[in-house]
Amino acid sequence: MTPSAARFAAIPQAGLFTADHAELRDVIRQWVRRALRPHAEEWERAGDFPYREVFREAGLVGIFGAKYEPRYGGTGPDLVADALITEELVGCGAGGVAAALGAHKDLGPYYVSRFGTEQQRQRYLIPAVAGERICALAVTEPGAGSDVAGIRTRAERIGGGGWRLSGTKTFITNGSIADFVVVAAKTEPEAGAHGISLFVVEAGTAGFSAQRLDMVGWRTSHTGELVFEGCEVPADALLGEEHQGFGHIMANFQWERIVMALAAVAAARATLDLAISYGRERKAFGRPVVKFQVWRHRLADLATEIEAARALTYHALRKIVAGEDAVREVSMAKWLATELDWKVADEALQMHGGYGYMMEYPVQRAWRDARLGPIGGGSTEIMKDIIGRSFGL
């Protein structure tokens, strides 16, 4: 073997995935196929899933721990492993279940790990990794989404070093089932982005209530509106540095967005497979629909775009794993992959014809679920603004 051939042979797949990762992928895939996917239809129809059991089982399987050290119950830190778990969760077949597990994996507990004290990690991170306590992250409000600096929820100091929270949060994944919530609030309203702090609020705290929202897709997800009315929390509820919440949120946005891109690529691929297997069976004018040249070319185009989005997403992931600034690349991957997932879903629905419009076929769910991608976690328009500004425009 030449030195160059030896070098290439030693590079992990796509510069990311080792043989160990391939094994882990197989384990996760088997679990998703056995424990989640068979129930997708039933859960979707019910608009709910047995989340307590599913979270606990996911915790045992190791879904939530790849980012953390063993002392927190984790198997990491290994961001590549965490990324492939995101890809595999998509296989559960219900966007809302994947979102519930994913939001728990990548949002609130990750904040606790990154910005919390050791005491907070013991108290919140460990049970979260085990899947025993469910967590939500509450940043978005009725009047402020991607414009984080515009949030209006207030946190005022009260006697004894504690805080009083007032305000409303919305579109909070796991919000109405969470045992604890990481909440962003203004601690200094005049300071804009520099006056935001994060707090951990336990469910059951007086003055905190949550209500589930009805959504066009992700119908198994308990996405909620949270209301804080004079909700008092102790001093040690402050997560991270006072007034530094904006920076903390921005720092975590990169991971939140890369996992959305990873999930979107995986979902687009699954939806394309769904369309192809339908189109192989379904005949029109005496031949399978996929054999018409127009469809063959459309499917080839979609497969190509999926491969391009995958290449871009892995590029961004490699940068994150290497610890490099990847704001531009992550923003690129996020919008390209989520817009593509939506496009693939719409084409897949088209291939199904009338059946695609019927609730008994799963393609309608892929179509409804995919529509959130270009909205959640920072809209396509926000992504493009970030990218443009990164070029000094």
Binding site: T2, S4, A5, R7, F8, A9, I11, A14, G15, I276, V290, K291, W295, R296, H297, L299, A300, D301, A303, T304, E305, E307, A308, A309, A311, L312, Y314, H315, R318, K319, A322, E324, R328, E329, M332, W335, L336, E381, M383, K384, D385, I386, I387, G388, R389, F391, G392, L393
Partner: protein, 382 residues
């Protein structure tokens, strides 16, 4: 960070190719565009610098490199400012010569490959015909035994890059009409062989510095040692060649689009309209964001494909995807950039028009978009 395809050593090569292209080629680009050709010394000079055979072993005068090196050269050649130069060099070093290395005898390598790597002989690749392009199986040029162990070749070839001035041609022929895909053979034909004629030099809308020929082969007699590869295996051999051609083509084309993107962004930061730089309008900011995203995806897909190939795969599907996507993106970017330049883009003095015209070829040459989709669909089992 560098893509895993590349090491610091590749970046050193990048710097030296860039230095060469910017100092020795770019100053002549406009003149070569105007004249519709560039001089032969470019081949020789690049041979002397070791840029003509980076992936070939050192024993033939190459550099013993990998796909990373070839892609670096294709990308940096885009800085020349005249797409035809990079294309002509790529035809020589990445399209016509790899089959000689891969399928040729030792004597053929010494006689044709070594001087081509030195840039002393210019080579062209004769695949396409008036009635058969991507449909290689439709080739009509015939090679029949002359009775003395040699061959007689008859037919026509068209759109042959370097064809006007080539010293020899790697020619695709049909030697057995009944044998279907197993009836094709490759030949090495010296262009001074009697019966080998350049019937015309074609005029093109872009890639203007590259010479493109139509060839007529009228009872061209070649001895048996001019057969390249195995008799009857020409179809598979040329399909293999096309994979490298597509990969190198897309690498150069996407790099060319990045250069225009960069220039256009600089322009958009300076050019004022309604009291502010046009790049500061949100619509334009989003246009740049869209272009950069798609260009980055195209680039990463190309690199991933090259890496897969180096890791022992034969990634036909991924190569076709990279070429299809990269070609479409490069063309969209060129067109959007021309729009951002407005009247200055339509005027030839900025060179944006040149890049726009040159880029159009990738969606045709080396297999059209439509043929790429056919390949992809087939490999998907559709």
């Amino acid at each position: 960070m560098l893509h895993p395809l590349f090491t610091e050593e590749h970046e050193q090569l990048r710097r030296s190719v860039r230095q060469f292209v910017e100092s020795e080629l770019a100053p002549h680009a406009q003149e070569w565009e105007r004249e519709g050709g560039f001089p032969d010394w470019v081949f020789k000079r690049m041979g002397d610098l070791g840029f003509m055979g980076v992936r070939f072993p050192e024993e033939y005068g190459g550099q013993g490199g990998d796909w990373g090196h070839s892609i670096v050269i294709a990308e940096e050649m885009a800085r020349c400012g005249s797409g035809g130069v990079g294309m002509a060099i790529a035809v020589q070093s990445e399209m016509a010569t790899p089959p000689i290395f891969k399928f040729g005898t030792e004597a053929q390598k010494q006689r044709y490959l070594v001087p081509a790597i030195k840039g002393e002989k210019i080579v062209c690749l004769g695949i396409t015909e008036p009635n058969a392009g991507s449909d290689v199986a439709g080739i009509e040029t015939t090679a029949r035994p002359d009775g003395d162990g040699g061959w007689v070749i008859n037919g026509r070839k068209i759109f042959i890059t370097n064809g006007v001035r080539a010293d020899f041609c790697v020619l695709v022929t049909r030697n057995d009409k009944e044998a279907g895909h197993h009836g094709f053979s490759l030949f090495l034909v010296d262009t001074d062989t009697p019966g080998f004629e350049v019937s015309r030099k074609l005029d093109k809308l872009g890639m203007r510095s590259s010479d493109t020929a139509e060839l007529v082969l009228d009872d061209v007699r070649v001895p048996s040692e001019q057969l390249l590869g195995e008799q009857g295996h020409g179809f598979v051999e040329i399909m293999w060649e096309l994979q490298g051609e597509r990969l190198i083509g897309v690498a150069g084309s996407v790099a060319g689009a990045w250069l225009v993107f960069d220039r256009t962004m600089e322009y958009a930061k300076q050019r004022m309209a309604f009291g502010r730089p046009i790049g500061s309008f949100q619509v334009n900011r989003h246009k740049f964001a869209t272009m950069a995203t798609e260009l980055e995806a195209a680039r990463q897909l190309t690199y991933d494909t090259a890496l897969a190939w180096e890791r022992g795969e034969y990634p036909v599907q991924q190569i076709s995807m990279a070429k299809l996507y990269g070609g479409l993106v490069a063309n969209r970017v060129m067109n959007e950039c021309l729009q951002l330049w407005g009247g200055m883009g339509y005027a030839t003095e900025t060179g944006i028009d040149r890049a726009w015209r040159d880029a159009r070829l990738l969606r045709i040459g080396g297999g059209t978009d439509e043929v790429m989709r056919e390949v992809i669909a087939k490999t998907m089992g559709l």
